[in-house]
Subunit: 126 residues, 2 copies
């Protein structure tokens, strides 16, 4: 399976895991040694912390996350995905922005190795 | 020059260009076809828009940006940098966060190809 197909499959599994609020499945979509670099927080490492991160995300009332891939740059066992996302709470879009994910081929599957994003919504004027 | 050295040199040039508010030098640190994915804004493409982006950044009163590299993953003509940054206005840290930059070897130099970051500072409670 090439990188673009593997990333597509990984994203389909990711969307399903979020819809099912399944924070057992979510860490399995990440490599050993993966890092999440979330906005407005510190870097998240190791699969227990990754499960915890997504649990907190569900606690915010998020019911759906929709990554859309614009570009895949294949680089051997790695591939960079650049795209956009929207995040929903019961059919209402609560955030939208940009994603940049380094995927890695590990144990025969493409998994997220370095995962970051940021909102495209302007900050409120202060 | 290997990727880690090339990225170090690119970051030194970047820091100098920011200190000098030099938005002629800044676009030259990016590849042809580069993209900046800034927080709270849309993707920035082409060198004129990149110059414009940094001009707006200087207009906010930013006088210094300090990227710190934690990790370089070399992948042939590409390399991914993961690290942290702080942004200063006249010696006061006004933001700090995480960076993820895909560098590309182009015209004999390592340049930024996909550049994104987000703040590690929690959002104020609403």
């Amino acid at each position: 399976m090439d990188a673009a197909e593997g990333i597509h499959e990984g994203n389909e599994r990711f969307k399903q895991a979020v819809r099912e609020a399944d924070n057992v499945a979510l860490p399995l979509l990440y490599t050993r040694g993966a890092q999440i670099l979330p906005p407005n927080g510190e870097t998240v490492r190791d699969s227990e912390s990754i499960a915890e991160f997504w649990r907190a995300f569900f606690d915010l009332g998020i019911t759906e996350a929709r990554p859309v891939t614009h570009e895949v740059i294949p680089m051997g066992e790695y591939a960079l995905e650049v795209g956009e996302y929207s995040v929903l709470s019961h059919d209402e879009v609560v955030d939208r922005g940009k994603i940049m994910v380094l995927w890695k081929h590990e144990d025969g599957v493409w998994k997220m190795h370095r995962d970051t994003w940021n909102s495209s919504v302007p900050l409120p004027e202060t």
